[in-house]
Amino acid sequence: MSIPNESHSAPSALAVPPQDAASPHGIERLGAARLATERTLPLDPVLGALLGSEGLVRGQAVACRGPAARSLAIAASASAVVLGSWIAVLGVDDLGVEAVADAGLPLERLVRVRPGSDGVRAWADLCLAALDGFELLLTSPPGRVPTPLATAIRRRLRSRAGCLLVIGDPRGLEVDVELSSATPSWQGIGTGTGRLADRNIEVQASGRRVHRGGVASVSLPGSDGRLHAPEVVSSSPIRAAV
């Protein structure tokens, strides 16, 4: 399967000697592009810009915090589910499914798992089983996760190359990236007038693997239930987040 390349013709790309690794020409670039899609799951470009990454890096755990934690977790997973990934929702029994659908996440690949008991061990077992077959797992630990269990989950996450989205406090789970939200402001509602329309909120990415973290002021949810980016307020080098 050849892939079209806007600026470089195939013969010249093929002619690039292998030692010329620094060259941005065809083969190398295509190789990198392919690797990128194997390494990541599709992600909303607004969040991608915040994380400085094309997608959700497989094998990583992302914590979503703050007053828009759930909306963030849903927005972060929607693109991947649209493109064929399955998502398990574990121990978040009161998740509003309409909000999930409005965010553009297709419900046909969403499965909700309700643990039978409140114990962390039962939750962890379900976590491991879900990571075996689902590329996305959205969860919230029911209690403090002991280190051996956290390590087992981490290892399974790496070997299965899925993505773990934690709502709220990770409670002992090791996370690579944190998306935190702050200073929400609801639009469209008055005192006895209007309705909740959309929420402006600041989202910040942090973590040891986030190279170009910044703060973005976003609309989450927007009036259509989806994530929108009106502007970038940070001076850090975020690529086109609008």
Binding site: G96, V97, P106, L107, L126
Partner: protein, 544 residues
Amino acid sequence: MVVCTLLRWSPPVRSARRSDHVTVGVRTITIRWSDWPVSALGHPPGRPAAVIVANRLIAVSPGAAEFGVGVGERRRSALRACPDLLIVDRDPALELAAFESVLEILSGYAPGVELVEPGHIRLPARGPSRLFGGERALLDRLAVDLAEVRPAGWSPPGVGVADGRALSALATLVSITAGHPEVVPSDRSPDLVAGLPVSWLSEIGEVPVDFVSLLDRLGVRRLGELAALAPSDVVSRFGPVGLHAHRLANGIDERPVNTAVHESTSAVELAVDEPIHDASAVVFAVRERAERLISEVAASGRVCVAVRVTIETEHSERSEHCWYREEGLSAAAVIDRVRWQVDAWTRRPGAITSGVVLVRLAAEQVRPDEGSQEGLWGGRSERDEAALRAVARLTSLAEGGAVEVPVWSGGRSPADRHRWVPADTVDLLDVTRVSRDAAPWPGALPAPAPTVVHRDPPEVHLLDISGEPVLVTGRGEMSSAPHELVDRTGSRRIVAWAGPWPLHERWWSPAVKRSARLQVVLDDDSAHLVAVQRRQWSIEATYE
């Protein structure tokens, strides 16, 4: 006799604008009588008539169109518009029998007529346009010849000329809408496609319908928008199908050289000593050959897109057609075409005078089977399989709990628009279980929907500025403006609120008291949906 050799592709031509992978499709004419199935019935155009497949009208006569009956309508609604409407099931053999005379006319123009279906053909433009002095002259001449095909009153066919099959098919759709032939010069292809809906790609069979609905969900509706996406993104997300669609959206109608349609020599033959006199016996006899041919092609990882069906009788009469299908021909599709061809032949008076002694099937054009990213467009992907296994495992693990999936059920409150049902009681791969009704229920709350729907709504008190409880009257009015919300943990001030939205859930039942809802924003910036029932307020949902 219809002589049919194949459209031959020009040697790769370098395009100035694009990379060297791309070759330009050859000039191709597509002619399509979109109402052929109904005109083939032989009724006058003024008679309201329609042809139906799977309860949907696929073609209507001008007489029926006058009543406002349109393609795509269901039988019942069409009959409501026009009670005298004649509705007939589709009969491709009848359509083909009526189309043979057209094929004979066209064979005088070029020796490469491809039959997509009766009333829909393609032929190379280059040869005949040279012969007649240019494409315009060729089209004028075609218009004169084809005017005789159907009685006055039927609309002229859509005619599109462009670089390559798919672009000419798109041009033909434009032509049908516009009412005049559409000629797209080689350098204007991108202009032709940019404004067209993405759904037209599936209309002409170039991409699966699911691909279109997937793009639709991603907000890509016009081919110009698809063209604007980076090719590498399209390839990585949608695979070869996406790449093909992206090229077409850019006005490039040619698969890359290494995946191009090319000619094949695979052929099978059924020769019998005892002439077969029964059409269905011919079809039956050829069945096994068709399966062998298609599985042979498939074994080399390819699909057959064009098959030539040749049938000969004891008296050396001959029927030969080259059938083309962009999506690829399965054995069943090949057998169908043999049946249409034999049936059409026997229905033309005097065309066949003896039994069939030879049937030859040749897979004339094949292309690599690009797979189709199973799962995105039907079928199971590896990811589906893995998820199904995990669901089974989780179900056995979640003792006392549950593994559930949402099923659409309608309803007005956030809690009852979808029901959760055990995952092992439904077909997980049936996507229709979650499809939402187009119209929201009356009384449904406007978007955005809350992200937390409390399973056990916590009871709260709503107080006004003087500390009195707030109530909603029978007429749906607030007794006073809510000022604070008090729950177990304490009191929070209400900084904004909207509503009430009355909810007469079961208005026919006096046992259920009326309830109403408010949206409130508290001084900690949290937003909630609170409901009152029997004077008791509770937090039904939260916007987190």
